[in-house]
């Protein structure tokens, strides 16, 4: 065993060496090595590996001589197996009776791999070999080579074979039959499949052979398939259900749908999945009937299949399912409602908006929103004004997805006029989503009327609309925000500062910095410091030079800060690694409240600037290492220092 392993390893090493050696290889020299009485096993194995690249029929005698050598048979087969021509085949066949055990199995495998029919006779003789490994290899080899002679030998040997040999013979017969089927010889294939199905007991063989019978039977296979599905015999049923997906034709679909009503639950589920994947909408009616099944798994499978098959006629059925179910069934119903693509589904859903059940109406509104057909936005807007709060809320949600510039004035009007906090919030939420979408698309819309409402509307209106301003980049928005920050109402001021600190507009950075440094309220300062850090280092669209970023952080650091505020600034400085940021961070190591964060920032910055400002970086890292830190931070610092050194 160890020896074989050593030889194999030698082959691999030699193979790799040969593959890497760009020098040309001379076949004659290699043959000489093989035939030499003084060459070692290792040298001969290496020669075989090299020979593989240049081998011709000239090498066959030298190689076949090695086939009986326990140490080199594998190396010789490595070359012969892929060498085209009758010489190699003959060489392998001649060596076959001179070998036994694993060498003989190896030669049988090589002959099988070459798939030359001239080997069939020799392999057939080995079916009766007393060494079961050889007999099994021969049976498998015959299956691999195939053809009428192989088939005859296997059929002849089948009744007498037992155990693993019998299994190998059956597998090979199935291979031969499947090859015949692929070549269009259905009658010959059918004969073998039938024989195996009739005589073999194993479920696996019954399934495989019945599958073959259906496929080889042409048009007569379809009734067989239907019969098997309707039967309770699990192997044939399994084979038939597997093929149900692949058998083409609308007739097959109709027949499969016809089996649905009386099939047991597991078969119903398989059929529903199969019909869903076949995607023929003509069978949606029998599928829809199973939405009322008493079995939850069948209901879910039917609902899911309807997503692929259904048209407008099942839209309301699905909405009712979603409204009256929970969990996986509701998820499936909602998904199918979103997936429906046959027929005028949107019109059917719109017509059903007058359904008596508010729960169903809610599901329809949700589906209309998710389906994304913007033509329904005016209708949904009307529903948003409905008395029912739930309908109104769902409509605002849908409008957030569907609405466009046309809905902005009406939504704004609702925000201004409504007395309900929920409706104001819903309408403002929809407006926010629409405005974000329009801005990202670069579309034209009436920003000014929104700004006018922010400037002149009642307090509640302004509170609802100010958050929308954070997503807009416009001179009039900046003015409105600045004016609102000076508003006498503390609520308006707070909303304006929140919007300011949430903005993506870099032109508002000075305003934000002012709040960060000098606002009397600590919470506003914290929010503004967070906003400054975000705009300076985290927003992709905002491009500031490093000096400007450092200047912002230095300005903030020059004011009294609490721990949370210092942490925010440290995260900003960490993102601008240079000598200036290091100079600002290093003294903060002395502040116990943020030592850990300052140490992390030093490690990061020093690591980034170690090549350009090595002295400063080294000194800062030394300072970190001199401090008492948790083990993870210390490890990072030590690693950075080692790298630096």
């Amino acid at each position: 065993m160890k020896r074989t392993f050593a030889v194999l390893l030698g082959c691999c090493i030699a193979g790799l060496a040969a593959a890497q050696d760009p020098s040309p290889v001379d076949e004659s020299q290699l043959i000489g090595v093989l035939q030499s009485g003084t060459s070692s096993v290792r040298e001969k194995a290496a020669a075989c590996a090299s020979l593989k690249r240049v081998v011709t029929a000239r090498s066959v005698p030298a190689l076949t001589a090695l086939l009986t050598d326990n140490d080199l048979s594998h190396s010789a087969r490595y070359v012969l197996e892929s060498l085209p021509g009758s010489e190699a085949e003959k060489g392998l066949l001649n060596a076959l009776p001179q070998t036994s055990g694993s060498n003989q199995v190896g030669i049988v495998n090589s002959l099988a791999k070459r798939r030359d029919p001239t080997a069939v006779g020799a392999l057939s003789k080995l079916l009766g070999n007393s060494d079961s490994a050889v007999a099994v290899a021969a049976a498998e080899g015959l299956g691999h080579i195939g053809g009428p002679k192989s088939l005859k030998s296997l059929e002849h040997a089948l009744p007498s074979g037992t155990g693993v040999l019998h299994e190998a013979e059956v597998d090979s017969l199935l291979s031969c039959a499947n090859r015949l089927l692929a070549n269009g010889d259905n009658s010959a294939a059918l004969k073998i499949f039938r024989q195996l199905y009739d005589h073999e007991k194993s479920d696996g063989i019954a399934l495989a052979s019945y599958r073959g019978i259906i496929l080889a039977s042409g048009s007569r296979g379809i009734p067989l398939m239907m019969k098997a599905i309707a039967s309770g015999d699990s192997p044939t049923q399994g084979a038939a259900l597997e093929l149900a997906l692949k058998m083409p034709g609308p007739d097959v679909t109709t027949q499969l749908a016809g089996l649905l009503a009386n099939a047991p639950v597991p078969v119903q589920i398989s059929l529903l999945q199969c019909l869903g994947q076949r995607g023929d909408p003509s069978v949606s009616a029998p599928v829809a009937q199973l939405v009322a099944s008493s079995d939850p798994a069948v209901r879910e499978a039917a609902i899911t299949a309807l997503g692929d098959l259904g048209d407008q006629s099942v839209a309301v059925v699905l909405a009712k399912c979603a409204a009256n179910s929970t969990g996986a069934e509701r998820t499936a119903a909602r998904q199918s409602l979103d997936d429906l693509r046959h027929g005028p589904v949107t019109q059917a859903l719109m017509a059903a908006l007058s359904d008596d059940s508010p729960k169903v109406r809610l599901e329809i509104i949700r589906a209309l929103g998710d389906r994304g057909d913007a033509s329904v936005a005016p209708t949904i807007l009307q529903l948003a004004r409905a008395d029912d709060d739930a309908i109104s809320s769902a409509s605002f949600q849908a409008l957030g997805t569907l609405g466009g510039a046309e809905q902005v004035p009406d939504l704004l009007q609702i925000v201004v006029q409504t007395t309900s906090d929920d409706r104001r919030s819903g309408a403002a939420g929809a407006l926010g989503s629409i405005s974000q979408r329009l801005e990202s698309q670069g579309a034209q819309w009436d920003v000014q009327s929104l700004i006018n409402a922010v400037k002149t509307g009642p307090v509640q209106t302004r509170l609802a609309l100010l958050p929308i301003c954070s997503g807009l980049t416009d001179a009039s928005v900046r003015d409105a925000l600045r004016a609102s920050m000076a508003d006498p109402s503390p609520d308006v001021r707070e909303a304006a500062i929140d919007a300011l600190c949430d903005t993506h507009d870099s032109e508002l950075l000075p305003d934000m910095l002012k709040v960060a440094c000098s606002d009397p309220e600590k919470r506003f300062r914290t929010v503004a410091i967070g906003g400054c850090v975000r705009l300076a280092v985290r927003e992709e669209a905002v491009k500031l030079p490093a000096e400007k970023k450092i200047e912002i952080f230095k300005t903030i650091l020059d004011t009294p800060l609490d721990t949370a505020q210092k942490r925010l600034v440290l995260s900003g400085l960490e993102a601008v690694p240079n000598d200036q940021s290091l100079a600002l961070v290093t003294p903060m190591l002395d502040d116990k409240s943020v030592r850990s964060e300052a140490a992390q920032a030093v490690i990061h910055i020093a690591g980034s600037i170690s090549k350009t400002q090595s002295e400063e970086a080294g000194a800062a890292l030394k300072k970190v290492l001199a401090m008492s830190l948790n083990s993870a931070t210390r490890k990072s610092a030590e690693k950075a220092y080692q790298r630096f050194q």
Binding site: Q397, G429, R523, V527, R538, A564, S571, A632, T633
Partner: protein, 220 residues
């Protein structure tokens, strides 16, 4: 004086532990696992939780429920509509594309507003378990104000280098799996809960499949 204080403290502890006697283990309804095979390696230098270690059982009061669907959800990503954010609490935790809410890249958060302070005992979150990925800067905080400036309590923080500016965390990073991440909130009373992340080892985008917040809604 000291003795009286100690006795009082002991009484409080005993009362608390007596109350907690009835607590039950938090059991989650898990989605189907979707990936198997050779586990991925964590990026160099990243210390992750052991994937074979069984997470500690979180005990919650018997009346604790998933109250996340009752909360108003907002996000730092202004493009995320309320309909989209609603999917984070719709109960669908499967790893399908349809179940996952995608947020902008960079540091982003989602926030839950319960309208009034609630007792929070556990938080379970699934970013996206369609692939073995590690989410960066996973931070979970509770606070009394919407801007997270007042009485902020950090329940989980694996942002070890303070890249998010919320403090250097000490929790470990972890691979996303169908089991999600359970965080013990230990009865924290708060109106707001915020979850941060900063992309993953797979993508700079932020994803949420589901968030469950187990707590008790106080009577208004």
């Amino acid at each position: 004086m000291k003795l009286r204080y100690c006795l009082l403290l002991l009484a409080v502890c005993l009362t608390a532990s007596a109350d907690q006697k009835d607590w039950v283990p938090l059991t989650l309804k898990l989605p189907s696992p979707v990936f198997s095979g050779t586990p991925k390696e964590a990026p160099a230098g990243v210390i992750v939780e052991s994937r074979t270690a069984v997470p500690p059982v979180i005990m919650v009061p018997p009346n604790a429920r998933n109250i996340a669907p009752k909360a108003k959800i907002t996000s730092s990503d202004k493009n995320a509509t309320s309909a989209l954010l609603a999917k984070i609490t719709d109960g669908d935790k499967e790893a399908d594309e349809d179940s996952i809410v995608q947020l902008r890249k960079g540091l982003q958060w989602i926030q839950f507003d319960f309208g009034r302070p609630v007792d929070i005992y556990a938080i379970a979150l699934w970013h996206a378990h369609d692939n073995a990925k590690i989410y960066r800067s996973v931070i979970v905080q509770a606070a009394d104000d919407k801007d997270f400036t007042e009485n902020v309590r950090t329940l989980f923080n694996n942002d070890t280098d303070n890249s998010s500016g919320l403090g250097a965390g000490t929790d470990r990073q972890y691979f996303e799996t169908f089991q999600g991440k359970e965080i013990n909130a230990k009865g924290t009373k708060a109106r707001y809960v915020r979850l941060y992340s900063h992309g993953s080892t797979d993508s700079s985008m932020n994803e949420y499949t589901e968030v469950e917040i187990y707590g008790v809604l106080a009577t208004p």
